[in-house]
């Protein structure tokens, strides 16, 4: 069974220099409450694994949506992502030489995370062949199998996984609403410690076993986000 903590307690589990993978797409259902507390704590030298750099503002006009909070605070030294163009802070810190960004094709990004979590040694993909990605550090080599060439992408894991689920039951089982499962399903398998922010906490049985997307056995900590509409 997962441990139940506040968002501040969850953020305090993460030390300086940790690697964190964070769910969400352009901030959509990133674990906003935990990220807010992590920004408050000012934890430094983080390696961030996230699709993007979040957004300068959210759909309700709230400033610094998603991981943009950590980036604005200069808490991230190294980032793996697929698209960082929508948060100008990323380019600014890259140009200053403060932030090191490794860009990964989005399909490879999720599959590298899945591979780590599934105990696989890498991912063979045609994506990136004939491009500068062949020389990227996350690529092991170009390999040929039965006459076809592929990039061998390395697995990608982290110390912590921070994700958000719409319904989380008392065993930590997660159901995601709308498009919010994106990278979270893979990320929950690929980190030493998995922390889930629950929009709604439900009783056992509140998510039928057939509808569980992320099994609770993967989840170490749950933060009750306090919504009552699940």
């Amino acid at each position: 069974m997962p441990k139940w903590v506040t968002a501040a307690e969850a953020a305090a589990l993460i030390p300086d220099g940790a690697s964190i993978m964070v769910g969400g797409f352009m901030g959509c259902r990133s674990p906003h409450r935990i990220l807010g507390e992590l920004a408050n704590l000012g934890t430094k030298n983080l390696t961030l694994i996230c699709n993007d750099g979040g957004m300068p503002s959210g759909p309700s006009g709230e400033p610094l949506y998603g991981v943009a909070k950590l980036l604005a605070n200069r808490q991230v030294k190294k980032m793996y992502g697929t698209h960082v163009g929508l948060n100008p802070e990323v380019a600014k810190q890259m140009n200053e030489g403060f932030l090191d960004v490794s860009l990964v094709p989005q399909g490879s990004f999720v599959e590298m995370i899945r591979a780590y979590g599934a105990g696989l040694g890498g991912v063979l993909t045609p994506t990136g062949l004939g491009t500068i990605i062949e020389q990227a550090a996350h690529v092991h080599s170009v390999v040929e199998i039965d006459g076809k060439k592929y990039l061998l992408e390395r697995p990608l894991g982290a110390d912590f996984c921070l994700i958000c689920g719409y319904k989380v039951d008392k065993a930590g089982n997660i159901w995601y609403k709308g498009t919010t499962r994106n990278f979270s399903e893979a990320m929950a398998t690929a980190a030493a410690t998995v922390i889930v922010e629950a929009d709604n906490v439900v009783e056992l049985g509140g998510i039928p076993p057939e509808d569980v997307v992320t099994p609770g056995m993967l989840v170490d900590y749950v933060v009750d986000g306090g919504r009552q509409d699940g």
Binding site: P59, L86, Q106
Partner: protein, 218 residues
């Protein structure tokens, strides 16, 4: 034509490449105009790489941008009969050849069907997002773009910018014409009657062949 008219003209032509029931992924910008130009009776299944199959625009009351967005970050919904999926399944569908067509813009294209649209070293480094996977995996890759950028050719002998993928393009649609990528190079198959072939060639660095069945672009 002014910029807005050019966009509509290109999008309308691109819409005619699509058949009823096609699974299509549209890039941000001009390609998102295409659905409004679909011929009657053609309904697409729009795939959004962040996890929607059969994406539709919600009404203001239905929109929940905290929980459901398309790959451009705009409010979206899975239509009844559609599905929400995770990124792994989504890109599995893309790389696995289950998406019929992707339509996206370009910074540069070339004679070999190479595409560059994700990075301008030293100036813009936004990232490739899902573009590299989409152009490698989709069955058909269509580029919609203005023929030139500030008077400079974008259809080149060889791309100068870093590639998104090599040899991935099937068709290029601009306000001047429609160009097929064949194994013998670029073939102009349709021409906007406002231009002569010489006009089009002059705005193109690559050498264009004229199709034997060259048609007016409308």
């Amino acid at each position: 034509m002014d910029k807005e008219k050019i966009k509509g003209f290109i999008a309308a032509r691109a819409a005619r490449e699509l058949a009823d029931g096609d699974v299509v992924n549209l890039g941000v910008g001009m390609p998102t105009l295409i659905p409004q130009y679909l011929p009657a009776g053609v309904k697409l299944i729009l795939q959004c790489e962040n996890g929607i199959i059969d994406s539709i625009k919600p009404s203001a009351e239905e929109a929940e941008p905290e929980f459901a967005v398309d790959a451009g970050g705009q409010s979206a919904l899975a239509a009844p009969g559609g599905a929400y999926i995770d990124s792994s399944v989504s890109f599995g569908l893309i790389r696995g050849g289950h998406v019929d067509c992707t339509i996206l813009g370009a910074l540069e294209v070339d004679e070999k069907g190479n595409l560059a649209n994700w990075i301008i070293p030293g100036s813009k480094v936004p990232g490739m997002g899902g573009a590299m996977d989409l152009v490698v995996g989709a069955k058909k890759v269509i580029i919609t773009m203005e023929h030139t950028a500030r008077g400079k050719a974008k259809i080149l002998k060889q791309c100068r910018l870093p590639l998104t993928a090599a040899g991935c393009i099937n068709l290029i649609i601009t306000e001047m014409g429609v160009i097929e990528v064949s194994k013998d190079g670029l073939v102009l198959t349709e021409i906007n009657p406002e231009y002569t072939f010489e006009d089009v060639q002059k705005a193109t660095e690559a050498t264009l062949k004229i199709s034997e069945s060259l048609k007016e672009m409308a």
